[in-house]
Amino acid sequence: MDKTEFYQRLAEILDVEEVKPENVLKDFDGWDSLAILSVLAMADAKYGVSIKAEEIRSVVTAEDLARLVEAKRK
């Protein structure tokens, strides 16, 4: 998985210039239920993985999220 591309997609969803791996998702203004829905949709459409509601709630940083998607692809 191209992580740079993943962070770019995340940045688009959060409506910011850039997302760094260490960024805490909750610190973004745009991290709301719409953003969560967009992430679930993006993971499904672009990476073919289904992230569960309870899984996304346990994610803290952008890197955690990338790892979750990557782990599910295997």
Partner: protein, 357 residues
């Protein structure tokens, strides 16, 4: 569970919406959204407007208005109604059943089956299934299926997540026995273990109505609700629509001997345009086959999105020809039902505005 029904057809559809239309652009300040947030939300959910019934109008009023139009137009005769099915989450009373109230208002004779069912977004399909079962009774040759909800009463106007996509509507569908060799192939699935994904916790008998259940709280920014309002786990419902519904549609298509190509229209329930787009993409169905404008123009009207979709987008073709269609309803319960059938030519297919009588 696979269900096959023979020699039954949908013969008429009328969908009724309140005449009161509200636009997102006018309403968003109520949600405490900034202009940027509103733009983002509007774009993602393709929001434009929705129809909301005034406080005194119930789902049954919308349905009854439709029935009256069918009777006035000579499409339906009172003496031909053998059963009334009323499917809703917003009935007139806790008791009696609203179908009985409607029976009385229509002044029907005593030889009529009246049945209420508590169903939401899968309600149109639940109704189709129950109507087909009732039509197995030799004395029943015509069923009046009424689906309707005034969901706006289950959500606070300031709830920025739910209210913008909420819509009120009612529909009357006539389902009858027919001589032609027609088959309705259906798959019915339920998972009660996930009922908490969409629930109104208070106000019935598990948690009776009290000052506490009516207390409005801001549970997160811009989301005001009480325990008697619908409580939805959006992410869990999204998982459900993407993981459970597409495989069912695929399954019912192979069961009925169809492919994506042989189906002209996929009338999916529309929770919001975003989810329908995602589902169509996942199933690789061309968007042109999946009309997806109901929520943008009328709101998510639960069990009415399917008949509204048909009346809004396909009224003319449905009146003149026969079309291979796939219907799919999914939501609260959790319940998901998909069906493949031939639809049309219908005797009547229209979308009308409600007027108080």
């Amino acid at each position: 569970m696979k269900c096959i029904f023979k020699n039954k057809r949908i013969s008429s559809i009328i969908t009724v919406v309140p005449s009161e239309e509200y636009r997102f652009d006018d309403e968003y300040p109520l949600y405490k959204m900034t202009e940027t947030q509103a733009k983002r939300f509007k774009k993602m959910m393709s929001l434009d407007r929705h129809r909301i019934a005034p406080p005194e109008v119930c789902a049954s009023d919308l349905c009854l208005f439709g029935v009256q139009r069918l009777l006035d137009g000579g499409v339906l005769k009172k003496e031909d109604i053998d059963a009334i099915l009323f499917i809703s989450q917003t009935p007139d009373y806790i008791l009696p059943a609203t179908s009985n109230v409607i029976h009385g208002k229509l002044g029907l004779d005593h030889d009529v089956i009246c049945l209420d069912m508590n169903q939401g977004c899968a309600g149109y399909l639940t109704g189709l299934q129950q109507a087909c079962l009732l039509l197995e009774i030799p004395a029943v040759s015509k069923v009046l299926l009424l689906t309707g909800d005034t969901s706006s009463k289950l959500v606070d106007r300031r709830n920025r997540i739910s209210y913008p996509i909420t819509g009120d509507a009612g529909a009357a569908t006539v389902i009858e026995r027919c001589r032609e060799e027609k088959t309705i192939d259906m798959d019915v699935k339920n998972d009660g273990s996930r009922y908490k994904a969409l629930v109104i916790p208070g106000g019935a008998y598990r948690m009776p109505s009290s000052a506490e259940t009516l207390e409005l709280r801001e549970v997160e920014e811009g989301v005001i609700k009480c325990l008697e309002h619908a409580d939805m786990d959006g992410a869990a419902i999204f998982n459900f629509t993407m993981d459970d519904v597409p495989p069912q549609i695929q399954d019912v298509l192979s069961f009925s001997g169809d492919t994506w190509d042989s189906i002209e229209h996929f009338f999916l329930h529309q929770p919001n345009p975003f989810i329908v787009t995602q589902m169509a993409q996942k199933m690789k169905i061309p968007p042109a086959k999946v009309p997806n404008n109901v929520v943008s123009l009328y709101g998510n009207c639960a069990s009415v999105t399917i008949p509204l979709n048909i009346a809004l987008n396909c009224s003319e073709p449905m009146l003149t020809g026969t079309h291979r269609v796939c219907l799919s309803g999914f939501g609260v319960g959790l319940t998901w039902i998909s069906a493949v059938l031939d639809m049309g030519p219908l005797d009547f297919c229209k979308l009308v505005d409600y007027k108080a009588t």
